[in-house]
């Protein structure tokens, strides 16, 4: 029997696992997909929100501000990309200025530091491409951008290195209360644990409702995005939000940590918990509305579009805690925006709760740091050449748009919780994430996966399951 089973290897589950690994605990993460970071955590705005948005006194506000404050140190400890580029909430109608001031006040009460209102003149100096309509903005210097994949992957790898087990392609189908804990029936057999953490994202209601009489409902709230080429990455320096106004909640425009420009999201409540399809109307909304705050967004430079699902709970609040009618069962539900920002704090909170239940002792062997995949572009030419001499694969470029070497891809495959699919490689190294969208590198990455994992080419998938790339050989059905 495990001490703790965490359902879901998204950013919340991974953060909880990492924080739990500070203790002497037999823990296991169950993930229904083939990899970590496959649901909400992989498709979002990739923003470390400052924390002025959530209601005063809410758990969301508290964890957002805490998470934001933890992010810089965590990014150093776990080696993922985080840039505190600051954010601006732009007001484009003079009559909405009170809304800006209300936001400022809320932010101050939430404990957000450095907030101030900037007037048009300063705003234009800060962001020359700001809309001609902009009158003022709330500036939050603590706002940031983060690599959502590497944050999630880093947390999981660090948890794994500290002894947490991960099981993939493992879907929880039923939960049964047993003496001293729970039995989880999965498609891969039964597992038992004293405590269960429900970090199942948009499926957290289904998991919750398996054990509790007090039912919850998570509504998948879809957000469509467009991602632009790196040539557009300097269009704005900060993350630009729209102050909610006559156009409703606006579309953000932000650089990404990798130098692209991201524009989105929409907010459309849907039924299908796997409904990550973009729609014409959604993309059109993104394209039209981004002009409300930022002018001349070079939309011809779009390299891909995608949609993510926020795990929206009716009360718009994080539901984190042990269930009164299910002892030892800890919800981590309703984790929608600012969930990514809050994740480090969510992990701590969940670990604290479990520690209280199980009376955990410190893990003396805990190592709180992790080295990410080496990006050779950060090296000097001498260092790079020394590396290539030792490992020639670092001299072989596979993805020419993002300049990703075979060395990085090998590292992504062979490290703990390594990549097993093209998307897995992509999230870890960016191979295939560039302007040609894997046109050139996918056959080469497939070859490497096939060789390194001794898999037949027919078994290589985009993202696990039935997402195979090639289905047979030439003329095999003639």
């Amino acid at each position: 029997m495990y001490d703790v089973i965490i359902i879901g290897a998204g950013v919340s589950g991974a953060a909880a696992a990492r924080e739990l690994s500070r203790y002497q605990v037999k823990a296991c993460v169950l993930e229904k997909e083939e990899d970590v970071c496959c649901g909400t955590s992989k498709a979002n705005s990739a923003i470390a929100h400052a924390g002025y948005d959530a209601a005063n006194g809410s758990l969301m506000a508290k964890l957002n501000v805490q998470g934001n404050k933890m992010m810089a140190q965590l990014s150093k400890d776990l080696d993922f990309e985080f840039i505190q580029n600051g954010s601006l909430v732009v007001c484009t109608e003079e009559e909405n200025r009170p809304g800006l001031e209300a936001l400022l006040e809320r932010g101050i009460k939430n404990g957000v530091e450095g907030l101030r209102i900037v007037e048009r003149e300063e705003l234009v100096e800060m962001e020359p491409n700001i809309s001609d309509e902009a009158v003022a903005a709330l500036y939050a210097p603590t706002g940031g951008i983060v690599c959502p994949f590497n944050l999630n992957i880093a947390l999981a790898e660090n948890a794994c290195a500290n002894g947490v087990e991960f099981r993939f392609n493992t879907q929880v189908e039923e939960i049964e209360r047993i003496q001293g804990g729970y039995r989880l029936k999965t498609n891969q057999g039964d597992v038992e644990a004293k405590c269960v953490v429900n970090a199942a994202g948009v499926f957290a209601d289904e998991i919750h409702n398996m054990v509790s009489e007090k039912k919850i409902t998570i509504i998948p709230r879809r957000g469509d995005y467009c991602l632009l080429d790196k040539t557009a990455g300097n269009h704005v320096k900060r993350t630009i939000f729209a102050l909610p106004g006559k156009y409703g909640k606006g579309i953000l425009v932000s650089p990404t940590v990798h130098g692209n420009l991201i524009v989105g999201p929409t907010a459309i409540d849907i039924q299908d918990k796997e409904g990550t399809n973009t729609t014409r109307a959604g993309l059109d909304e993104v394209i039209t509305k981004c002009a409300n705050t930022v002018k001349n967004v070079p939309l011809r430079q779009v390299i891909t579009s995608f949609a993510g699902l926020r795990a929206h709970e009716e009360g718009h609040e994080f539901l984190i805690g042990e269930l009164p009618d299910a002892p030892g069962f800890v919800d981590c539900a309703g984790i929608e925006s600012p969930g990514l920002t809050s994740s480090p704090a969510i992990g701590c909170m969940v670990a604290e709760i479990i520690k209280g239940i199980l009376d955990l002792k410190e893990n003396p062997d805990f190592v709180g740091t992790r080295k990410g995949i080496l990006n050779p572009e950060t090296l000097s030419m001498e260092e790079r050449n020394a590396l290539i001499k030792e490992k020639p694969a670092y001299g072989n470029i596979i993805c020419r748009c993002e300049m990703v070497t075979e060395g990085e891809i090998l590292d992504a495959i062979h490290r703990p919780l390594g990549a097993k699919s093209l998307d897995g490689v992509k999230r870890r190294t960016r191979a295939g994430m560039g302007r040609c969208q894997a046109g050139f590198c996918s056959p080469r990455t497939m070859e490497i996966l096939s060789r390194e994992l001794s898999m037949d080419m027919m078994e290589i998938t985009k993202s696990g399951g039935k997402s195979s790339f090639v289905v047979g050989t030439n003329k095999d059905q003639i």
Binding site: N277, T278, S305, N396, G439, P443, M457, K466, N474
Partner: protein
């Protein structure tokens, strides 16, 4: 730092032809840098025939065509490096490259010939809504999988875009046992060569739906189907015209983009129309001694014309190295593409530096029937050539003679346009 007279970026058809002509003109210090495992570029996966009709007066496959030039490169002892990625080209022509054996290294070039070719537009660039399952490939990626590696990307295929690679792949997938259900083309005309429509679609009963596009993509893991719809004159889907197709594969042949990240990094000025460098009569960019040819300059239909153009770039680079270039007296004639002509390559001509005969290539923006391609020297019409039909999918050309240009000492602008008959 190593130094070469001519460094050629790319060992595809353009790079090979440029190398051969530069060497034949008398420059010995030439280096070709190729990122793939062999010379020949994209021709190596173009195993269909139809190459070389202009150059060799016979019909070759892509690899055969490439082999002719590779043989010349080898016979002439031209140096090349494979598996070598060029990371950067500086304004003063320092080329930074990398491979497994030598690591990262720099080369000082006297001249650089840009011959990097092009890439395919992706689904993302079209912003087609829907899911993002496996089973969506650019036509060229599918071509590599099938023709080089022997793998079938899928069984039931829909193709969006009637570019030549898409048309060729419609036939190839059919040969290999797949069912190609339809080719949808956004424009009211095909983007490919007429002969490819006949030989690749008509001969196999594959329908081509003009003024149609993909409006939905279904399938969470692997593609299960798509919806196409007719579009109006602005390219917007017309509600009510949707048609569903079950398929496991969608191939995209929706345009090629010259791959100029290195050129931009070096400070080469670009044409917003071709997405390639702006060049003069010598195929030289705004940076003296940096030349461009082939698909990196503007996307071609026929490799024969790539070879011809690249040959000129190689000769001009060699002339630059050998100090043979006539000194420019500063007279510059602008080419002015208007009324149906989208661009010209070159975009300016220095008559004192041009060859005796210069081919100016261009594309038109629409299909025109029974028209003239007219050339004006300032306001005077110099020539007009009757054409039964011109189309965006087929590159056009005019020839200019040096003697003639020199006989117009005050000439400022050469206008190329389409005129109705």
């Amino acid at each position: 730092m190593k130094a070469y007279d001519i460094v050629i970026i790319g060992g595809g058809p353009a790079g090979l032809a440029a190398a051969v002509s530069a060497k034949e003109k008398g420059v010995d210090s030439i280096l070709i840098l190729e990122r793939d495992k062999e010379l020949g570029g994209i021709l190596n996966q173009c195993i269909h025939n139809g190459f070389g009709l202009h150059t060799f007066k016979e019909e070759l496959t892509g690899p055969e065509y490439a082999a002719r030039f590779i043989k010349q490169v080898l016979d002439l002892g031209i140096e090349y490096k494979l598996h070598t990625m060029v990371m950067d080209i500086s304004h003063d022509k320092v080329v930074t490259a990398m491979n497994r054996e030598e690591g990262m290294f720099t080369i000082q070039a006297k001249t650089v010939i840009l011959a990097m070719g092009c890439r395919e537009r992706s689904r993302g660039a079209l912003n087609i809504p829907g899911y993002r399952p496996a089973g969506i490939y650019s036509a060229g990626t599918a071509q590599r999988l099938v023709n080089r590696e022997g793998f079938m990307p899928g069984r039931e295929v829909v193709i969006l875009g009637s570019g030549d690679i898409g048309l060729i792949m419609a036939r190839r997938m059919t040969f290999e046992g797949a069912k190609v259900k339809v080719v949808a083309e956004l424009m009211p005309y095909s983007g490919g060569l007429k002969r490819n429509i006949v030989q690749c679609l008509d001969d196999y009963g594959i329908p081509l739906k003009l003024s149609h596009t993909v409006v939905e993509i279904r399938g969470k893991e692997r593609l299960t189907g798509i919806t196409i719809a007719e579009v109006d004159s602005k390219g917007k889907p017309i509600p009510g015209t949707e048609e569903d197709y079950d398929c496991d594969t969608l191939l995209l042949s929706v345009g090629l983009i010259p791959e100029n990240e290195l050129s931009r990094g070096a400070g080469v000025e670009m044409s917003p129309i071709t997405s390639g460098p702006l060049v003069n009569e010598s195929l030289e960019t705004n940076i003296e001694g940096v030349f461009a040819c082939g698909n990196v300059l503007h996307v071609h239909d026929l490799v024969d014309f790539v070879s011809e153009e690249a040959g000129a770039a190689g000769r001009n680079a060699a002339a630059f190295v050998m100090g043979e270039r006539r000194t420019s007296q500063g007279r510059e004639i602008k080419l002015n593409p208007i009324e149906g002509v989208r661009y010209t390559v070159p975009s300016v001509i220095h008559p004192d530096q041009m060859d005796d005969k210069l081919t100016v290539r261009f594309r038109v923006g629409n299909v025109y029937k029974n028209c003239y391609i007219s050339v004006y020297f300032d306001d005077e019409r110099i020539s007009r050539r009757k054409r039964p039909v011109v189309a965006p999918g087929e590159m056009e050309e005019i020839k200019l003679e040096r003697e003639k240009l020199l006989s117009y000492p005050d000439l400022k602008t050469i206008t190329v346009k389409i005129e109705e008959a």
